[in-house]
């Protein structure tokens, strides 16, 4: 671990101030479940770590007129217990899928949205794009856990966020502040993620001096049904190899609106627009979900070793849809 300064702001303005120094070579710390690993392996080397845990405006979950605001310091545990979130089943299911008590206790929802890819080339020091002499290590190497969508450019890792698919399906926004002290913007989460073209670009649109303070969820209408399905190999600390989150507006058993978002299959969360459109106007049955899942993966472009992820993703979509309408075999949950 490289030496770094440690800063502990108590207000959002102070946090922005601290983040802006050192030409923005700074990092935000809340739960630290990802940052600490990156620091220890020298994968990131910020000159200052800004600990936001003492910025009280970023604590807690609150109902607002048009929805719910979740602070950047809210841990998975706190979210699981929050009555404000009981209608957002897909998100609670993902918390439940974090079968690590440590991760539930320390990790934050906003931190999850901002975490770096788990690509082993990146974590072993080959940079975000894992290029060596201009060639992609991922393309010619071991890409079993890499992207099957959106992988034609230099970025072939998968977005590490487990909550982004659920939040995006719910049409969530993130509140971004900085780099100017008074700057504040609510960004639809689906536009928050970015696919880098160079090693120095990040995986989100955040610029130096900016941070996410909250994530906002719209009011859940009574006809909205949501669910997630993550393909997890282990009953412990694990990351999904494919995942899907769905949010459906179901009236008289007919789907009126649908959003299907895939996780861990592309450098960003991957919205399956076409598949979602195919579901609208239909009942959710074994047959329709099979058809919709086929559409969701029909444009997949697997790499040399990850064709299996296409099938996994198909299964995740089917199961998330069935789970949303309580038709999933409980043994498969």
């Amino acid at each position: 671990m490289n030496p770094f300064e440690y800063a502990r702001p108590t207000t959002e303005a102070e946090a922005i101030d601290f983040l802006n120094d050192h030409g923005g070579q700074t990092a935000v710390l809340s739960g630290g479940t990802d940052l600490m690993n990156l620091l220890k392996r020298d994968v990131v080397q910020p000159q200052r770590v800004v600990d936001i845990k003492h910025v009280s405006s970023m604590n807690g979950i609150q109902r607002v007129d048009d929805g719910v605001l979740i602070g950047a310091n809210v841990t998975l545990d706190q979210a699981l217990a929050a009555h404000e979130l009981v209608e957002y089943q897909s998100l609670l299911q993902v918390i439940d899928g974090h079968r690590s008590i440590q991760m539930q206790g320390m990790g934050t929802l906003v931190g999850d949205l901002c975490q770096m890819p788990s690509c082993w080339y990146f974590r072993n020091g080959y940079g975000l794009l894992a290029l060596k002499d201009g060639a992609s290590l991922v393309e010619q190497g071991d890409n079993r856990y890499h992207a099957i969508f959106g992988n034609s450019g230099p970025a072939k890792f998968v977005s590490a966020s487990r909550f982004a698919p659920g939040f995006i399906a719910w049409e969530a926004k993130v509140r971004v502040i900085g780099p100017q002290p008074t700057q504040e913007e609510f960004v639809p989460l689906e536009y928050f993620f970015a696919t880098p073209k160079t090693n120095t670009q990040g995986v989100t649109i955040l610029k130096p001096g900016q941070l996410v303070t909250h994530v906002w969820l719209p009011i859940a209408k009574p006809t909205m049904k949501s669910a997630a399905y993550e393909v997890l190999e282990s009953n412990g600390l694990d990351r999904p190899q494919a995942a899907a989150s769905v949010c459906l507006n179901v009236q008289s058993d007919i789907v009126r609106e649908a959003r299907i978002v895939l996780g861990h299959v592309a450098p960003t969360p991957w919205i399956a627009h076409e598949a979602a459109r195919a579901l609208v106007g239909h009942k959710v049955t074994e047959d329709t979900v099979s058809h919709v899942a086929d559409i969701a993966v029909s444009r997949a472009t697997p790499l040399s070793m990850n064709d299996y992820k296409v099938q996994m993703t198909r299964a995740a979509v089917k199961r998330a849809l069935l789970r949303a309408v309580d038709q999933l075999d409980p043994e498969l949950v």
């Binding site: 690993n37 393909v231 075999d329």
Partner: protein
């Protein structure tokens, strides 16, 4: 006087031996009072960090550590390699820096000026064609030669395999493999070393070792000391699994840095280096052809396997293929692949788990082809065993039948591929094992104090498996004392030289020597008691804190020991070899009940049954613990655990606890253990149990998956990727 013979005595008279008894050091361990090498931290200790090679293979073009030495707080640098040397694998250690704190040592490592020139590497362990094609020039005795990375090792033909194959009523051909795994000791390899002046040994090393008595000499030779000048201490160890028998260069580095700096030095490998450098288990991939009669009787075995054990160029042992079974007609070939991967070391039952996968999976596939019950095909061939296992053929039948009973095999069995209508299929599998586990030479000293205190000293070690506890049980049982009235001293080479702990030899070695020494001590005390209390010496028995004769209490243990006339009684005991206290050779059978989600490729273990003999059992609880541990390690290598080498970079890319996947408690299902212990087992003496239970687990699980789905997942671990790839391949 009747002949005095050391025996385990009648089974039903024991109050401690054979019972389920919690580890006597459990509280120390659970509470953190137990000090592992990684905890040794006297004032002044310096801490080390390592510079390692991060290429598949590389030459060190430049190496300058002067800047590192100037980092404030850095006190010393030890060079494992010099400028111009070659690093032979990712993780090969170049230098260690000792500093006031580990973070400062890391700053020192960062300050080292090092330039690597990457060399061509080869790390592709399952591709025999690529290994054969990969040639490089090797110079021996001035002669240059083009050498391939693949080398044929075993090529053995018995009987007339070709004729047998022609005559076979059914022929099965299959491909099987199991990847390399690391030892993944939770406590990494390492040492704490300090030099002292004045009385006592000059060099004191707390060393994380399975070989307390055998390591001192390796330090002594290195530093020009007498062996008497080196003290090795290891009271607790956080895992070794066969990889911790040597001083190792990092042990020497700690001692050298301690010598140069005049300070105690602790050097523990970091997690990535721990996975890459101090040993792995070799891989093996095999093409197998079996010929058989329609009733399942195997008439011919043909196999060719290859794989790697790293720079040595070996693979799994061809001389033991097929495993447990043996057939009149066979051809066995093996080809070793030399790779630029980390080296191998003994891994819990060296070669056996891999051999078991190749053999028992092939036999299971034959059963599938014959549409027979796998268990029946195993039983059909149970008379065709190798010379070692043949001594146990009746035992195998009994153990397989017992396991089937516990698994409810008959009710649950279905033909291969008929695992259910939904996407989740369920199936059963079995596999069998063999192991030696006999005792080796070693010594202990039992000491009885005039106040009745009793202790034993021996330079053995407790790997966490309960060695202290079983020794205490034997000592207390022999003297008729409560368990907490005896003391066990181990973990130091100051004590009488004892066994290393490998090959499942420990329990026989330490309990045998302790029983012998304690019995002789008891006889001496009995003689004194006989004289004083006028009873026949050979009528005296110890129990319940007293000495008894003819069913009457003669005196208390303390009263008896007072007869020692103020001088402690010390008796040396030799580890037994062929004296009835210990024996060798076990069989064993495991069965698996699993389900396979054919949509996601995820396998879940419902139930494992392990039936295992091990001779006289000293402690039922710790014996069962060994089996739990073995089965869990077997589940790991069946489902998730593997070293992943990246062909492009030549690196071990999953060398961390995140991507080197081990099962969690929720992944292991129900494990049912049956210790096979009829009187005939008790009567044959103690046999070690460390290794056998890890052997058949992976093969049993692989066979259960094949039974569930009707598709063989050829290479282990059976990750979701490999399951889905196999299912897709079968549909194509």
């Amino acid at each position: 006087m009747a002949e005095r013979k050391v025996t385990w005595g009648p089974r039903d008279k024991h109050t401690l031996i054979g019972k389920s008894i919690q580890r006597i050091d459990g509280v120390e361990k659970a509470s953190g009072f137990a000090k592992y090498t990684n905890d040794i931290n006297p004032p002044g200790t310096l801490f080390c960090k390592l510079l390692v090679c991060k290429h598949g293979k590389a030459r060190i073009k430049k190496l300058n550590v002067e800047a590192a030495k100037k980092v404030p707080g850095v006190h010393g640098v030890y060079l494992f390699k010099n400028e111009g040397d070659t690093c032979n694998w990712d993780g090969d250690i170049v230098a260690a820096v000792a500093a006031e704190r580990s973070q400062v040592a890391q700053d020192g490592v960062r300050a080292i000026e090092v330039v690597f020139e990457e060399l061509k590497h080869f790390v592709d362990e399952d591709d025999l064609a690529a290994a054969t094609a990969f040639k490089e020039t090797v110079e021996t005795d001035g002669k240059k030669e083009e050498v391939s990375r693949a080398k044929d090792l075993v090529d053995r033909t018995v009987g007339d395999p070709d004729a047998a194959l022609k005559a076979a009523e059914v022929v099965h051909e299959g491909y099987y493999g199991i990847n390399t795994i690391s030892h993944m000791c939770l406590e990494p390899h390492g040492s704490h070393a300090h030099w002292q002046t004045g009385e006592g040994p000059k060099l004191v090393v707390h060393h994380s070792t399975q070989n307390v008595s055998g390591t001192g000499g390796q330090f002594a030779t290195k530093f020009g000391l007498d062996a008497a000048d080196v003290r090795i201490i290891c009271n607790y160890i956080g895992g070794g699994f066969g990889s911790k028998f040597a001083a190792d260069e990092w042990g020497w580095a700690a001692a050298q840095l301690a010598k140069e700096t005049g300070r105690p030095v602790r050097l523990m490998l970091d997690r990535a280096t721990e996975l890459k450098t101090p040993g792995t288990r070799p891989s093996g991939y095999a093409k197998v052809t079996i010929g058989a009669k329609k009733d399942g009787t195997i008439t011919v075995w043909k196999s060719h396997h290859w794989g790697t054990d790293g720079p040595q160029g070996g693979t799994i042992d061809g001389n033991q293929m097929p495993y447990v079974f043996d057939f009149e007609n066979k051809v066995v070939k093996s080809t070793g692949i030399k790779t630029d991967c980390g080296p191998n070391r003994a891994w819990r039952a060296p070669h056996h788990p891999q051999l078991c996968v190749v053999t028992d999976c092939a036999i299971d596939d034959l059963a599938a082809k014959l549409k027979m019950d796998s268990k029946e095909v195993f039983l059909k061939n149970i008379k065709q065993l190798d010379k070692v296992a043949a001594q146990n053929s009746d035992l195998y039948v009994a153990e397989i039948n017992r396991a089937a009973e516990l698994m409810d095999w008959k009710a649950k069995w279905h033909p291969h591929g008929e695992g259910g209508k939904g996407s989740v299929k369920r199936g059963l599998g079995l596999a069998i094992n063999r192991w030696g586990g006999g005792a080796v030479k070693g010594t202990c000293m039992v000491k009885v104090h005039p106040d009745g205190g009793a202790e034993v000293f021996l330079g053995s070690q407790d790997l966490g498996t309960g060695t202290r506890t079983v020794i205490a049980q034997v000592l207390a049982e022999t003297f008729g004392l409560a368990l907490n009235k005896v003391k066990v001293n181990l973990g130091s080479n100051a004590y009488p030289a004892a066994n290393p702990s490998g090959g499942s030899i420990t329990v026989g070695s330490v309990t045998g020597s302790t029983r012998r020494a304690a019995s002789e001590a008891l006889w001496k005390i009995s003689d004194l008691v006989a004289e004083k209390y006028k009873v026949a010496a050979d009528s005296i028995e110890a129990g319940d804190g007293k000495l008894w004769s003819g069913g009457k209490a003669v005196c208390t243990w303390q009263e008896a020991c007072r007869l020692l006339d103020n001088r402690a009684l010390e008796v040396m005991g030799e580890s037994p070899v062929k004296d009835g206290l210990t024996s060798v050779l076990v069989g064993g059978c495991q069965m698996a009940d699993v389900s396979v989600d054919t949509d996601t490729g995820i396998i879940r273990i419902h139930k494992m049954v392990a039936v295992q003999d091990c001779g006289t059992i000293i402690n039922e609880m710790t014996a069962k613990s060994q089996i739990y541990g073995g089965v869990i390690m077997g589940i790991a290598s069946a489902l998730s655990e593997e070293r992943i080498m990246d062909n492009t970079t030549g690196r071990y890319i999953n060398a961390d606890l995140d991507t080197y996947r081990l099962p969690r408690i929720g992944d292991i299902g129900e494990i049912v253990i049956d210790l096979w212990q009829p009187d005939s087992e008790y009567n044959r003496g103690v046999v070690g149990l460390g290794e056998p239970p890890v052997i058949p687990t992976a093969a049993a699980i692989a066979n259960a998956v094949a039974n569930a789905t009707g598709v063989r997942v050829p290479v282990l671990p059976m990750t979701p990727k490999r399951v889905l790839d196999a299912l897709k391949g079968a549909r194509a």
